[in-house]
Every structure is written in C-alpha cells, then in structure tokens.
C-alpha cells in the first residue's frame, strides 16, 4: 500500500508541473500584450518599457516561469488587474462558496443517481430500468445552464418560491446557515446535481447488473433468497467504484461550475472566472484556473488512493 501511495504521488507531481506550465502559458497565448489592459492607450514607450521590466515580461520565458512558480508556491498568484486586489484574496473568498455548492450538488446527485441506478440494475430490462436509463440520458444531455434558467423561470419567476440569483439576501456575501441563505443554495445545487446524477446512475446500474449476474448471487436469487445478504453484498462490491465516480464528479463540478454560477450569480470561483473573462483580467483568470486544476489533480490522486485502500485489486492494475 505504501508503495502504491508513493507511486501515485510521484505520478501526480509531473502532471501538476505540466498543469502549472499550461496555466503559466495562458497569459502568453493571449493576443496582444498583457500590459495593454493596465496601461492607458496613450502611454509613452518609456512607461511601457518600465512597466514591462517591473512585471518581468522582458525576461526569457523559462525565467519568467520560475519566478512565477516560486511566487505561486508561496501563495502569491499576482494582482487582479480589474480590482487591484491580490488574486489569492479574491480566490479565498470565492472558493468556499464553490466548494459548498459542488459538495452539496455531488451529494444530491450521488444519492439520487445511486437510487435510480440501483433500482434499474436490480430490475434490469423492466420499465423501471428503461425509465431510469431515459432519465440518465437526459441528465447527461441537458445543457445545465439552460436547465438552471428553466428552474429559475418556474420557481422564481412563475411561482416566486425561491430567489433567482445571489448567495444571500440583499446581495450579502457572508454565508450563514439560515433559511434566508439556504434558499439561495437550493436552485443552483439542484441544477448542478443533474450532471453527476446521470453518470452515477449509469455506473451503478452497470455495477449492480454485473454483480447480480454472478453465479452465486443468481443462485441465491433462484432459491428465493432476495434478502438483506444479497443487498449487502451488492453494496459492498459496488461502493468503491461508485465512490470513485463520485469523487471525480466533485472535481468536474468544481472546475465546471462557471456556467451555473454565471446563471445564478453565485459568488464562487466560476463567477470570478466569468468576471475575469469579461474584463480580460488575465492574472485573475490564470490564478483561478491554476488553483482549480491543481485541486482536480489532487482530488484525482486522493480518489485513486482511497479506492486502492477499499479494493486491493486496484493496486495491481
């Protein structure tokens, strides 16, 4: 196990390095000079050169990368061009909101998806199975930002039950666990949960159907022993894979929350990205993407390690 752990970590390190290089290069594939957005259009050539030197853009790329990476490792992700505040500060405020939304959405999606998938796999071929398969196809095919809009139309505009945007009354960004705040969380979380739900349902259905087709289980079923023992066996064998899928989905939601956060004006990392794109605030874009991508790499690694702990077969693969 320790060997596997070390192996997995040594595999993740070069990937993390590569990810940081890609993020670093984002600013350099952008058309034009990153300085043009901070400098007035009539800035003198001397001022431009001065600023270029201060920002370090006159050095060779590997050196620039080294300096940037050193700073990033110390938590300095640069300064937002639009607000003038450190990117790390902006991120710190946003990341908790996104995490809360993504975790809740993953939980909802996992519970509903497992339920659909389990029932579908257990009664394979029946109308329940077909219905569940249909729902899961819908789940993976629906443009979730549009689904968010439709939910807003129904529950905010038409029924006026839930708020359409924001994370708290009066646009407050201090989260509290009271109804006034939780109301804001419901629609975005439900919208977001549709993505993992479809995928978890598909996975669990396949797992359950596979386990139930094993000979000794069908033997038990033939004897009419459709009891708790069979159920426990299925859950025990399906859990590691299902949990791994859940972990990966959490990662995808963290990175992919931008569209839903934009629809609901949810003040998380995705919303931050949206602002960065809108204002062409490249340092903010770069820093946010770096943090989210590294989060995803780490999460992938943790999922693999946990899965290996639960299921020794994985280690040998």
């Amino acid at each position: 196990m320790l060997v596997y752990l070390l192996k997995r970590i040594t595999h993740a390190l070069p990937v993390a390095f590569g990810v940081s290089v890609v993020c670093f290069l984002l600013v350099h594939i952008a058309p034009g000079d990153p300085l043009t957005s901070v400098l007035p259009p009539d800035a003198s050539a001397q001022l431009q050169a001065e600023m270029r030197r201060i920002y370090g853009f006159d050095r060779p790329l590997p050196v620039q990368y080294g300096l940037w990476a050193m700073k990033a490792l110390q938590g300095d992700l640069g300064t937002s061009i639009a607000t003038g505040r450190p990117v790390a500060t902006e991120l710190g405020k946003a990341i908790g909101n996104t995490l809360m939304l993504a975790v809740l959405a993953t939980l909802i999606g996992f519970i509903l998806g497992s339920l659909f998938g389990f029932v579908a796999g257990y009664f394979r071929g029946s109308w329940i199975d077909k219905l569940a398969s249909f729902i899961s196809i819908i789940g993976v095919s629906v443009p979730h930002y549009w689904l968010g809009m439709v939910l807003v139309i129904i529950f905010s505009v038409q029924l006026n039950w839930l708020p359409a945007t924001g994370a708290g009354p009066g646009g407050s960004d201090a989260w509290r666990w009271d109804w006034a705040h939780i109301r804001h969380l419901i629609l975005p979380a439900v919208t977001m949960s549709v993505i993992p739900m479809g995928i978890v349902a598909r996975t669990v259905r396949a797992l359950v159907a596979d386990i139930l087709s094993q000979e000794f289980v069908s033997g038990l079923r033939a004897k009419g022993l459709l009891d708790f023992g069979v159920f426990r066996h299925v859950v025990k064998n399906a859990a590691p894979t299902a949990l791994a899928v859940m972990g990966l989905q959490l990662g995808y939601l963290l990175g992919g929350s931008i569209l839903i956060e934009t629809v609901f004006s949810w003040p998380g990392t995705g919303f931050l990205l949206g602002q960065a794109i809108f204002q062409r605030d490249l340092p903010l874009l770069q820093g946010t993407i770096l943090v989210l991508a590294l989060f995803f790499v780490t999460l992938n690694m943790i999922v693999d390690i946990v899965q290996a702990m639960l299921d020794p077969r994985v280690q040998r693969a």
């Binding site: 890609v22 095919s141 443009p143 809009m149 139309i153 960065a276 993407i289 991508a293 995803f296």
Partner: protein, 294 residues
C-alpha cells in the same frame, strides 16, 4: 486453363457480409437510434437550407416589436430582445451551433487518433512522451480547459473551435492509445510482422480497421458534450460574437428577458437539448450495434 478456372472460382465465391455492413444492419433495427438519426439529419438539413426554410431575416431587428410572445402572427415563436424573429434565428442558429459542436470533435478524432495510435503502436519512449503530455491536458476538467483557453485567446469562432479541439484531443488520444496497445499484442499483428510487413503497412491493414471502431464510437459520444460546451462558451461571451445567431449566445442575450417572456427566452436551450439528446442516443445505438458479441 488455370486463369479461366480461377475466374470461375472467384465468381462463385460465397462472400460473407463485412463488419460495417453488419453494424449498419443492426443499427437499422434499433428504432431509438433511427429516430435520433432522423432528428440529426433534419437538423443538418435545416442548417444547410436555412435561407430557404427560415420565414424571416434573422438579423432584422425592430424596436417596436421586441419580445413578443410565442404565437404572435408572423412570428410563431415570438421575437427576441431586439425584435428579431425567434424562429428564423433558431433555424439559422443550427449553422454555427452544429459547426462549433461537431467540428472540434471531428478534428480531435483525427488528431487524437493519430497521436494515440502512434503512441500505442510504437510504444516505449515515444509512448511515454506523448501520453505524459496528454495526461497534463487530461488533468483539467474539460469545461475548465475550454474556458481557460478561449478565455485567454479571447472571443471568436476560430478561437472557440481551437479551444474545444484542444479539449477533446486528450480523451480521444487516450482511448486510441489503450485500444491500439491492446491490438498490438494480439497474434495477428505478430503474424503480420513475421511476414515482413513494415510498421506502416501493419497499422494500415491490421491495426486501423480494428481500433477505429471503438475510437469512433467514443468520439461520437463526445459530440453531445462538445455541443453543450460550445454553446456554453458563447453563453459566457466567448466563442460566437453578436449579432450572429447561435443558440448559446441567444440564451445569453435573452437572460434578462426571463421576467418578460420566459418561454421565449428558454427556446434556444430546447434546441441545444434536442440536438444533444439525439447525438447521445445515436452514439449509444452505434455502440451497441458495434458490439460483435451481441
């Protein structure tokens, strides 16, 4: 005598149906896939013949007839926030939406297959270098990578296409690599090597035919993701720029209209949804039609 005899023999040879004709036969017997195929073909025809199908000019705006409801005479699906005919814009929207959704997957299918098959067939150090690079891009959630790239490159159709292509190359290359690595170890490839065939000939005759099917099915399953992502980029103000009709961009510009004409504002999403479901169902049908053991 032998020439005539062999011609006669050849004429009489019983030919079994090939693999792909079997796939088509099975696909034709799948009603869900056939309906999905019909919808996809209808959408493509609609995109091609948009100028003849659309009742109005999709660009002509009017301040006095903004945001009319569904069922307005002359504007069966209402008008948008600038008074443009929704039906015509939805029909024209199929052009850019399909292009932005399908094109990246097609390009990524060729590039990703080439990378993956090369890595899988050559193996060794070439494999390590190619696949570790692919791993880096694979380490980004697809939405995040698409947004990172097009966010940095800026809005525009070409930048959107480029970003999405880069997003879909890694997953396709990964599948291609693993399928090819599997095929490379099978004896018929060894037998071909033992017959003195060059690596290129072996790939062309023995590898390609056996790996392209699984890669193709996987790529078709990405079209739906790509459509949603492409429209999503336009929804965020990346990708297609106004005033071009594109479903994601239309959703974006109509967002504030949900308080006035909510159902008109939701229409472009219906189009994305129908297209994406159809491609998904078609891909599923293809997947089960290609399973030889079924």
């Amino acid at each position: 005598m032998s020439a005539a005899a062999s011609i006669a023999a050849m004429a009489a040879i019983e030919k079994s149906p090939g693999y792909w004709s079997g796939v088509l036969t099975r696909l034709r017997r799948d009603p869900v896939a056939m309906v999905a195929l019909a919808v996809v073909l209808a959408l493509i025809l609609m995109a091609i013949f948009a100028p003849w199908v659309a009742p109005n000019d999709p660009y002509r705006s009017s301040m006095i007839r903004r945001l009319r409801p569904i069922g307005t005479p002359g504007f069966p699906l209402g008008t948008d926030e600038l008074g443009r005919d929704m039906l015509s814009r939805l029909i024209y929207g199929a052009r850019l939406s399909l292009l932005m959704g399908v094109m990246p997957v097609i390009i990524a299918f060729f590039v990703g297959s080439a990378i993956g098959i090369t890595a899988g067939f050559v193996g060794g150090r070439v494999n390590t270098v190619l696949m570790r690079t692919i791993d880096v891009f694979f380490a980004f959630p697809s939405v995040l990578l698409a947004i990172a790239l097009s966010g940095a490159l800026g809005a525009g159709i070409f930048n959107g296409l480029l970003s999405l292509t880069v997003v879909f190359i890694p997953p396709i290359a990964r599948i291609a690599e693993s399928v090819t690595t599997g095929v490379r170890k099978i004896e018929y490839v060894e037998a071909a090597r033992a017959s003195g065939a060059s690596g290129f000939t072996i790939v062309r005759v023995h590898v390609l035919g056996n790996v392209i099917g699984p890669i193709f099915v996987y790529a078709t399953s990405l079209i739906s993701v790509s459509l949603i992502l492409a429209s999503g980029l336009s929804f965020l103000g990346l990708g297609v720029k106004p005033p071009e009709p594109e479903w994601g961009l239309m959703l974006n510009t109509l967002r504030n209209a949900i308080y006035v004409q909510p159902w008109v504002a939701a229409l472009p999403g219906v189009m994305i949804f129908i297209t994406s479901v159809s491609f998904n169902l078609l891909s599923d049908g293809l997947r089960s039609a290609m399973d030889l053991k079924a």
